[in-house]
């Protein structure tokens, strides 16, 4: 008797009392806790009551036979080891029970060494499976911990980049303010009106820039506490045309918006944040044209909302300057701005962050001199939300 065996329980189902008694005695003597049953129905009841680790069942029995019992057990407890007892000429049934994932066979007449070997193998398999499961659980835990550590370091490095980028932006503004105050001083000293006007304009631009920077920072901070609600995907875009129309007209740009229109669609999103995203893309598009104006060109910016099978797509197309390689590579990553003193470089970073928080996607295609196409996809609200 192995002391380990005490930890394992066996359901024994056989309609022949002789075989049942012999096996019961053999297995009990080997240290197992045994529940004997004289038919399939009783066996099934005992199984549900006691959840034994191992089942030994005769194949041929009146009522529920061994195959049915095997099927029922495997359905609710796939890990249970089921050993079938077969007679001569039960080969077909034996093969069938294999399909239903029986662990092993023993043939009548039963040899006690054979049964002990079969049970021992079952015990070994259970113990291996248990160990594998516990390793897997450890591994999953380990992966989770590593993931968390990676996430944290990523967050830290993003914060680092953010601060570095911010200091660059602020330094630029400081440079602009110092320059403009110098020009103003010169204007006052020399009573030079041109200096005064220029210096004052430059100072105002830098004041605007620092105001925009603080707004951008606020928007960026907001991306960490978005409020998701089912919304109509047209909503965030509706106001954008009204807000940008004046600016577009002044720059001689034809700004058009195409909405979905249909009423029955809802997307789980933060409408304000998506508004910020599309607004950023549209404002960038308006800034994508050469100064001075090319009289040959009709300047166009088109914002549209589309729907695919599983997502809503926002697109912003312009026929402006397009972006060169260097700009393309860093466009979402850094505080890049091609707008000279006007941009802070926060817009696209914020946009990407918001889209990521929505489990969406962002991308673009661009050709220098031909224009750019930016797109955002936001997954549709699932009807049967599962998992996260």
């Amino acid at each position: 008797m192995k002391p380990d065996n005490q930890n394992y329980t066996i359901l024994l189902v056989d309609d022949e009392p002789g075989i049942r008694n012999v096996l019961d005695i053999t297995l009990t003597h080997a240290g197992f806790k045994v529940w004997p049953a004289s038919n399939g129905d009783q066996g099934w009841d005992l199984f549900r009551e006691n959840h034994p680790d191992i089942v030994i069942t005769d194949i041929k029995m009146p009522g529920i036979d061994g195959i049915d019992l095997l099927k029922q057990i495997k359905e609710i407890s796939p890990d249970t080891e089921v050993i079938m007892i077969t007679g001569h000429g039960d080969m077909d049934l034996a093969v069938k029970s294999l399909q239903y994932e029986a662990a092993d066979f023993i043939t009548k007449p039963i040899d006690s060494a054979e049964i002990e070997t079969a049970v021992q193998k079952a015990v070994d398999r259970i113990s291996i499976n248990t160990r594998i499961r516990s390793y897997m659980a450890d591994l999953e835990q380990l992966i989770k911990e590593k993931d968390r550590a990676i996430d944290e370091s990523r967050t830290l490095s993003t914060i680092g980049q953010t601060i570095a980028g911010m200091s660059h932006v602020i330094k630029n503004i400081a440079g602009g303010l110092k320059g403009s105050s110098f020009i103003l001083e010169q204007g006052i000293e020399n009573e030079n009106r041109e200096y005064l006007v220029k210096g004052w304009e430059m100072m105002k631009k830098n004041i605007d820039k620092i105001t925009n920077l603080s707004l951008d920072l606020l928007n960026y901070a907001k991306t960490t506490r978005l409020e998701f609600k089912p919304c109509h995907p047209d909503d965030p875009v509706k106001e954008i045309k009204a807000l940008l129309d004046h600016q577009a007209r002044q720059a001689g740009i034809d700004l058009t918006v195409t909405l979905l229109g249909s009423d029955d669609i809802r997307v789980n999103m933060d409408a304000k944040a998506i508004h910020t995203c599309v607004m950023n893309l549209a404002a960038n598009a308006l800034d994508a044209f050469e100064i001075p104006e090319d009289p040959e060109q009709t300047r166009q910016v088109h914002v549209f909302v589309q729907q695919t099978d599983d997502a809503v797509v926002y697109q912003v197309h312009d026929n402006g300057m397009g972006m060169n390689q260097t700009v393309q590579q860093t466009v979402f990553k850094e505080f890049i701005t091609t707008k000279g003193t006007r941009g802070t470089g926060f817009g696209l970073m914020t946009t990407r962050k918001i889209v990521e928080e929505h489990h969406g996607d962002i991308g673009f295609t661009t050709r220098e001199g031909k224009g750019s196409k930016f797109w955002i996809t936001i997954p549709l609200l699932k009807k049967n939300p599962k998992g996260d």
């Binding site: 440079g175 110092k178 320059g179």
Partner: protein
């Protein structure tokens, strides 16, 4: 604005793409009694160098088309231009620019010196004035 050619004045070539900064540098140079020569990018700047006498160059680094880094390399490898005093005036910090020069010098045929005068854009106007004065004396 018409630029008067005055051969007695020190000529300062300003290569800077941003209009505001260009105006600032122009004002600075004028306030010191020198004559500013303005260029919106490196290509324009190099053209002007070929045409006019220049006593000092103020060079921005981040410019579209031909960036300040390439212009710097061209100036410092040119038999005549390399002796014209030069101030790098940039939003990029000096370490990054030094690194750029080191990268250029991995070419065994090149031996480009690091800039002697480097002023970051956020520097005080007084400091920039001092550096300009140091270059012209």
């Amino acid at each position: 604005m018409p630029q008067q050619k005055d051969n007695t004045k020190t000529r300062v070539l300003i290569m800077e793409d941003e209009m505001d900064m260009r105006f600032y540098l122009m004002t600075m140079v004028k306030s010191l009694g020198h004559e500013p020569v303005l260029a919106q990018n490196g290509i324009q700047g190099l053209d002007m160098l070929a045409k006019e006498r220049v006593d000092l160059i103020i060079l921005d680094v981040m410019m579209p088309e031909k960036g300040g880094g390439l212009v710097y390399k061209e100036l410092k490898t040119h038999a005549v231009y390399k002796n014209i005093p030069l101030i790098v005036f940039s939003g990029v910090n000096q370490d990054a620019f030094s690194h750029y020069v080191k990268m250029l010098n991995t070419d065994p045929d090149l031996n480009i010196p690091e800039p002697k005068y480097y002023v970051e854009k956020s520097a005080d106007p007084d400091y920039l004035r001092e550096v300009i004065n140091m270059c012209i004396c």
